[in-house]
């Protein structure tokens, strides 16, 4: 599905801060969306979260405990906000050398980390479906 020039994949969940979530068994893979990477422009560095870090699902006001590292372009830094509470199990080490994968393959090779969610049932409801995310993107113009 496309909204304007922005790709949205079926089968994933989304957030208003432009992360995607893919459930894999009892784990959740997280990355940033096509919209997010286009907003950022050329990504030059990805600050990965530490493995074992425990994070909270993102709510306002945002705090450091909700961050899963950050994505940097030449002139901007954008925190990656955790869509779910849980623990960081794995991070995408390839991004250390090839941060541009965030631009070229945001939904696949450019994944950022894998979480072990601690409260899927309680939190899943606040994630956006592809349709809901598409509607949200349209409001951004």
């Amino acid at each position: 599905m496309k909204v304007g020039e922005h790709e949205i994949l079926e089968g994933l969940y989304y957030t208003r801060s432009h992360e995607w979530i893919k459930f894999e068994g009892n784990l959740a893979r997280v990355g940033v969306t096509d919209y997010a990477q286009k907003q950022l422009g050329d990504v030059v560095y990805v600050e990965l979260p530490e493995i074992g870090k425990s994070v909270k699902q993102t709510t306002e006001p945002k705090t450091k405990e909700m961050e899963l590292g950050a994505v940097e372009s030449i002139k901007a830094v954008s925190a990656v906000y955790s869509p779910l509470s849980g623990t960081v199990k794995e991070t995408n080490q390839v991004l250390q050398d090839r941060p541009e994968l965030i631009n070229t393959s945001p939904y696949s090779e450019g994944w950022i980390c894998v979480l072990e969610p601690s409260n899927i049932e309680g939190e899943r409801g606040s994630l956006l479906s592809p349709d809901a995310y598409a509607t949200f993107l349209k409001t951004l113009g």
């Binding site: 560095y45 372009s73 030449i74 002139k75 830094v77």
Partner: protein, 462 residues
């Protein structure tokens, strides 16, 4: 009449107001509440013509006695050297002098390349791979270095020598105070001044972020156990930071070759005038390790190519570390730095070249060595107070009971000689002592003059 720096005359200004439909200049300030409007003239000295200002400032500055018009032995953080005239004439080129930070790479290649060359020169001197485009001075560079060490290691304790320059330490205290770093001073061997290795080892726990030493030290001697200090620091997982006078690196081993992770220092002696202690030039360099590089404070200039890949060019890089992007999470708040002094340093250093810098360092050290020998031979004087090798600065102690070091200096001044910097207040444990400095500006004859005058002052025969 027009104004030399405000080209739009009153008539033109009237015309401009007219064109944009504003009745008077005052209307443009109507948004300032009347309560805070200044309805009187600022009380400032009367306006002067260019000629008057020139005469006024010249007359005022004529009350100074420049070290070029007497014999001076002051160093201690800024050091007088001969600056070849082409260095200042090049940095005074308008296009360099009147440009802002090179944010627009396409019209700023000159400044960017010159700063890249500065970074490169600093790396050659220090044995590091990465240098930033400058900090304010040596003292603030130390402050930034320990903050960086704390960020990189996640630790909060910093070990510094007790014989660190007190002024630099005072600055460091303020820089370390934000995140609440703990500064611990390490003692020294009373006969040599060398860092107390057993205390170093005792203090070096898993909580230490940084071990900092100065080489040459503030009191002029060389720290000789550098490899051991580096090993001890690294063994405990701390970073090793070394502070330098870059001129000494013409003859001294690069700190990078004895294990330093970060090198800081005062770049003023590389082509900038002493100028009453400012502008100065903070040197900041580190190893090429991503963990370090991402935490560097200040600007970095990098090499790249045009988008078509055809032509080499230079641009500011890793800007996301800086305050204009990362705001309160930036690696430092520094924005304006000392870029022009950095360019001067590059030009000065390449003018000397490898052999020139070595020879210069050797002359500075040989002069100090001769001065120490001759002064030490005088009854009532001792130089240096530490039995260690020295570079171009050394301690002079006055052991004549009735004479303080300040009185000795007063007597020297009567002979048109500015003696060393007294440290009797900073380090009372060393008695009536001063730090003296020699550079290539001194000759054997001028040192003899000092020795004669000092001998006379202490009432000794030479």
């Amino acid at each position: 009449m027009g104004h030399p720096y405000i080209p739009n005359t009153r008539e033109i200004r009237e015309q401009m107001l007219d064109e944009i439909g504003v009745a008077s200049i005052d209307e443009l300030f109507a948004d300032i509440p009347e309560k805070i409007r200044l309805r009187r003239e600022l009380k400032l000295p009367r306006q002067m013509s260019e000629l008057e200002v020139k005469r006024h400032v010249q007359a005022m500055q004529a009350k100074n006695k420049p070290f070029t018009k007497m014999l001076s032995f002051l160093g201690g953080g800024v050091w007088p050297h001969h600056i070849p005239p082409h260095v200042q004439s090049l940095v005074q080129r308008s296009e360099f002098l009147t440009s802002y930070t090179p944010y627009q790479a396409e019209v700023s290649q000159g400044m960017l390349q010159a700063l890249f060359e500065y970074q490169s020169v600093v790396c050659e001197l220090t044995g590091m791979d990465v240098a930033n485009a400058s900090m304010y001075d040596w003292a603030t560079a130390i402050g930034e270095a320990v903050l960086m060490c704390a960020r990189v290691t996640g630790r909060k304790k910093v070990l510094v020598p007790e014989l660190i320059s007190p002024e630099r330490f005072a600055v460091l205290q303020n820089y370390a105070s934000g995140p609440g770093l703990e500064l611990v001073k390490l003692g020294f061997d009373w006969s040599t001044g060398q860092l107390d290795m057993s205390q170093l080892r005792a203090e070096l726990g898993q909580d230490v972020a940084c071990v900092y030493i100065e080489n040459p030290s503030y009191l002029g001697f060389l720290e000789t156990h550098v490899e051991e200090i580096a090993d001890a620091a690294h063994h405990a997982g701390a970073l090793f930071t070394v502070g330098v006078n870059p001129i000494s690196l013409g003859m001294l081993k690069a700190p990078g070759d004895y294990g330093a992770d970060i090198v800081v220092g005062e770049g003023q002696p590389l082509g900038s005038p002493v100028s009453f202690g400012g502008p100065t030039l903070g040197i900041f360099a580190c190893r090429d390790d991503q963990k370090l590089v991402r935490q560097i404070p200040g600007r970095l200039i990098g090499m790249t190519a045009t988008l078509d890949g055809k032509t080499r060019g230079f641009t500011m890089v890793l800007q996301t570390r800086e305050q204009h992007i990362r705001r309160e999470r930036a690696t430092s708040n520094i924005c304006s730095n000392e870029a022009l002094c950095a360019v001067a340093a590059a030009i000065y250093t390449v003018s000397l070249g490898s052999r020139g810098l070595r020879e210069l360092a050797e002359i500075c050290a040989a002069n100090a060595s001769y001065a120490m020998k001759e002064l030490d031979a005088i009854d009532g004087l001792e130089a240096p107070i530490f039995a260690s090798p020295h570079f171009n600065e050394f301690t002079l102690r006055c052991t004549q009971p009735k004479l303080t070091i300040e009185k000795l200096n007063t007597k020297l001044l009567k002979r048109e000689i500015q003696g060393g910097k007294p440290i009797s207040r900073e380090f009372p444990e060393f008695g009536e002592t001063a730090v003296l400095c020699t550079t290539e500006l001194h000759t054997k004859e001028s040192i003899d003059q000092l020795v004669d005058a000092a001998a006379e002052a202490v009432g000794a025969r030479r």
